[in-house]
Symmetry: C2
Subunit: 150 residues, 2 copies
DNA sequence: GTGGTATGTTGACATCGTCTACATTAGAGG
DNA sequence: CCTCTAATGTAGACGATGTCAACATACCAC
């Protein structure tokens, strides 16, 4: 909080006129992040959405960590939960054209790109260039229908 | 640090006799977590390893967050990096029997289960029971060979 | 002009991670 | 047994932080 005030050039307590507490400030920043993420995925389809997701995480790593670092309790900030759900809905919509267990397929796709972001940011992979991301994403198939494949 | 000392029933500075600083303490706990994770996956194969991974995360959520929360810089703790790599190696070994881009396939599998853990822990999914996990993992196929499928 | 609301400031408090200095304990070597 | 040393613990302090209460200022509606 004090650091935020410092950067804004105001006294150390000014932020409390705009945010209830530290967590509320962070929740606002996280919600903004989810809107940015949704914006980044807008218009993309299929694998392009996944790549946009990863690109966002690599471009704004701190923001991504804030959004998904588990430091902010979703239950406490309905606006935050809504922003996150809105982003996820875009991903799920990309799967709705296919039959089968759409919800599970979308969850799997989200998990895949999400985990990839985390592991790259944590430095668990030797490579982190866009080619590596494309190659990893290219490896998976989603069996949405009884026989279908995406 | 002070809380740790409190729980151990010693003075607030005693922990500094055993750990250089807060980050070193957390790094030790994280490394221990990676060993636990490796233990949990030992003996499992294929999807069973993924399920074990998720089970571990759901059983020890705080530990999992510590291990992958990005608060500890891997570069600074070689032992930690080694413990993490060792766990990942198990996963990768499960793919080595198949041809194709083994490294990418293993990375994708790790990303999938890892992202699933994070999203479940963050409360982004309505369900979090073992059935849901099984269903999500069942949806994906890994195209390891030119024509092969796992 | 007056009252109220939004915004900012000052000062204080408890807590935290960390440093320095000092005390205690335990074991090894004479 | 005595002494020296290393390991371990303690006390006190410092700066930084999140937060609260009290007070000040600016602006807008009536």
């Amino acid at each position: 909080m004090r650091e935020a005030a410092r950067r804004a050039g105001v006294s150390h307590n000014a932020p409390y006129r705009h945010f209830a507490d530290r967590e509320a400030l962070l929740a606002t920043l996280a919600a903004q992040g989810f809107e940015m993420l949704g914006q980044a995925m807008r218009g993309q389809t299929g694998r392009g959405m996944g790549e946009a997701y990863v690109r966002f995480a690599l471009q704004y790593p701190q923001r991504f960590r804030l959004m998904f670092g588990g430091q902010i309790r979703l239950e406490k900030y309905p606006r935050l939960r809504a922003a996150a759900a809105s982003a996820f809905d875009q991903l799920q919509a990309a799967f709705s054209a296919y039959g089968g267990d759409v919800r599970s397929a979308a969850a799997a796709a989200w998990s895949l790109v999400h985990g990839l972001c985390h592991l790259i940011l944590d430095g668990h992979f030797a490579q982190r260039d866009e080619d590596f991301v494309k190659r990893v994403l290219a490896v998976v198939r989603f069996a949405v229908g009884p026989q279908r494949s995406l």
